[in-house]
Point group: C2
Chain length 434, copies 2
């Protein structure tokens, strides 16, 4: 790795937590997930820990049968605008669907939010996943994967062109000369593509960061290539350091092949943490959440993932190894994840259900501040990642634990900042203002 590297940490906000039973905890903030003050408090906690950013996923449909608190009650762009005014330095990353927004709407709102926040905006460009979402925006179903990604690529090109349609200094305010704008500094973009026709210029002057920071989260071949060409930070998934290193090595090669410097793209796998002052306290936090799971539903789902019937299995007894993956005819990815969890953690059945309920196949670290910091340091030093997108199992408590216990330990080791290096998200991520 060239030059001194800095660890980057985002808090991936998600209802009352990434553990699907978190809302059932008596102390959970389930009643407050439509309350902007709840999210403002989380953002301030993350800022207290000098985290790079808060990060919102997004969805455009709701299933009323869901029992989990994972619905998208507040729309992220409006929520982040309020949160921008409740904080001063932390980045604000939202997920934007290239399948449902016109690029002009997206470029405009993100630029507006970048002005409102003083340069702290990032946009995680996705193509969306569910036909239910498409049916809320006029489609009968989602377009095929390849077409969605082609649209996303053009979407990103239009975003950048619109953000670049104003030079710095476009707002002249020459009272004497009577020129409010400098028309030489503002240009149409006249984009004519397969998916979009956009004349421009944007209505918003060049924003503090030049361009908001582009995030990407695609794991597929197409997604990785898109990230390689455009992303400045990547949210990825890896159960262990081996998988993370494999992904990072692959992505960095693609970035280099696309003619970019791999050192300028932060790779941030999701990370679920249970932190306690002792190992026992940390494990008790996981056990307490796992005990709230709807076990029958979770066992049914596990059966689908593995082709095994766990009905009647002792919840507190360890789970046996799965048969070799070659014998399984369903989707391989999920099967491999369950296989890996069983082999590396030797969980009880309820413990296994809990790993899957919080983050699925994402990295999960359980222990004291020291042991969690050890693992983070190990991943980081090995070059398996540039930091993590923290998927706290239960907000606000797990975030408090991370900020109050793990962050100071990382700071003691010189792995993490003790103050923000500047005022923008690009400053925090060590990216140039474009």
């Amino acid at each position: 790795m060239p030059g001194p590297r800095t660890l980057h940490l985002n808090a991936f906000l998600y209802g009352v937590g990434h553990h699907s039973a978190a809302w059932r905890h008596p102390d959970s903030a389930a009643e407050r997930i439509g309350d902007i003050t709840y999210f403002e408090e989380l953002a301030r906690t993350a800022e207290r820990g000098c985290l790079d950013a808060v990060f919102f996923a997004d969805g455009h449909s709701v299933n009323p049968k869901y029992t989990a608190g994972t619905t998208w009650f507040l729309e992220p762009l409006t929520a982040l605008s309020a949160m921008a005014r409740a904080t001063e330095r932390i980045g604000l990353v939202t997920t934007v669907s290239a399948s449902f927004f016109t690029p002009f709407h997206a470029a405009r709102m993100l630029a507006s939010l970048d002005h409102i926040s003083g340069g702290r905006v990032g946009a995680n460009i996705v193509t969306s996943m569910f036909d239910e979402e498409a049916r809320n925006h006029g489609f009968d179903a989602l377009p095929p994967h390849t077409e969605r990604y082609a649209r996303a690529e053009e979407f990103i090109e239009v975003l950048c062109a619109l953000w670049d349609s104003w030079d710095d200094g476009g707002v002249l305010v020459d009272r004497t000369g009577g020129r409010f704008l400098d028309s030489d500094a503002i240009r149409p973009i006249r984009h004519r593509g397969k998916h979009f026709r956009v004349d421009g210029p944007l209505t918003v002057p060049r924003c503090p960061q030049g361009r908001p920071v582009l995030f990407q989260a695609g794991a597929s071949e197409t997604g990785r290539n898109l990230a390689a060409r455009h992303a400045e930070a990547v949210y990825s998934v890896a159960w262990d350091i081996t998988a993370a290193l494999e992904y990072a090595t692959d992505l960095r090669a693609r970035i280099a092949a696309a003619g970019r410097d791999p050192g300028t793209v932060a790779i941030l796998p999701g990370l679920v943490t249970y932190v306690g002052r002792s190992e026992e306290e940390a494990w008790a936090k996981k056990t307490e959440l796992d005990a709230l799971l709807d076990v029958d539903a979770a066992i049914t789902q596990l059966g689908v993932f593995t082709g095994q019937d766990y009905t009647g299995h002792d919840l507190d007894a360890p789970v046996d190894d799965l048969p070799p993956i070659e014998e399984f005819t369903g989707p391989q990815g999920r099967y491999a994840t369950v296989q890996r969890i069983i082999e590396t953690r030797r969980p009880t059945l309820r413990g296994l259900l809990g790993y899957l309920a919080a983050g699925g196949g994402h990295a999960t670290m359980i222990g004291t501040p020291e042991s969690v910091a050890d693992s983070i340091e190990e991943w980081f030093a090995a070059g398996a990642c540039d930091g993590f997108n923290l998927m706290c199992p239960a907000y606000p408590d797990s975030l408090d634990d991370f900020v109050d216990l793990v962050v100071p330990e990382l700071q003691r080791r010189g792995l993490f900042r003790t103050e923000y290096p500047g005022s923008t998200l690009r400053d925090s991520l060590g990216l140039k203002t474009v």
Copy 2:
């Protein structure tokens, strides 16, 4: 008029003011029109005056040649979310284009903003006016007027259906029973129309106002009928009490014909005010802004409106009456407005240019707090309006003048509230929560 009526007042925020030369004033906030704190301060001033709402217009294109500060630097939904958190009671009305948004995006963002603001959102549904805007959203040109209005009508129907797709109490949070949402209280809408296909339900639980308040601003035949069927408040244009009464009478008849109670729709013409502690001080404020006009450009524009050549006309000499309108072959509306301004105000040429530069044909009141309150009272008592959409010529000064000088006079007369009647915009407008 049945029952006691209450005056309603909105502050129509518009860059640094509705006078097109306002930005050139040495004290203008022209450098701050991309600064959210500027708009937060304006909203707090309006709230200090107990105004019903702040009101944003919107546009989806920018002309770099514009010399005026009337560009849309901050996107209204993101700006209003920040402003919501800087205020407690004032309504927040934004303009939403039915031609460019999918109804799902609009319904979702407005509902989210209604949650964030605790029930203070209004949406002014428009069809947009310029081909330049359409060319930023994938069209070659705007669809024809009739088609735009048909789409807007369906757009409003979908908005309402989406807002109604959740009953109160849809968020159950039954920890013991394991039901986060009450699936009986959340329904798809399965809308299949000419312009939209939207399955629903919305992702956002029923918002504090049930539905955000619907504003409308159409003056055309089609626009009036749309307003009659759906609007809960109307932003209109009238130079004088006669024109206002004519419009209000016509609209109320249409509302009744649509089967609704005309008493439940607030008619709010635009109003430009220059207020001083003396008549002289008030006129000096107008004269000072008019002196900043680009006279050559304004005279050219006046020539287009009237077919007269004012080149070489003494700027400080009165303007003669125009020939009868029958002799003019151009657009009649603008001509009639100029004719009326000349006949009723007997302005100098520069004064006439100033009337047109601030609000065009909108009501313009110039004088002391008492005389302006007299005029407002006269319009209101005659049933020519239910209040006004204040088009301050120069922000923040003209808004300060109105709030500090005119509002107390209206309060002394018992015409305007001294505190907010409740916490939502519907409360302020005297509308039921739907």
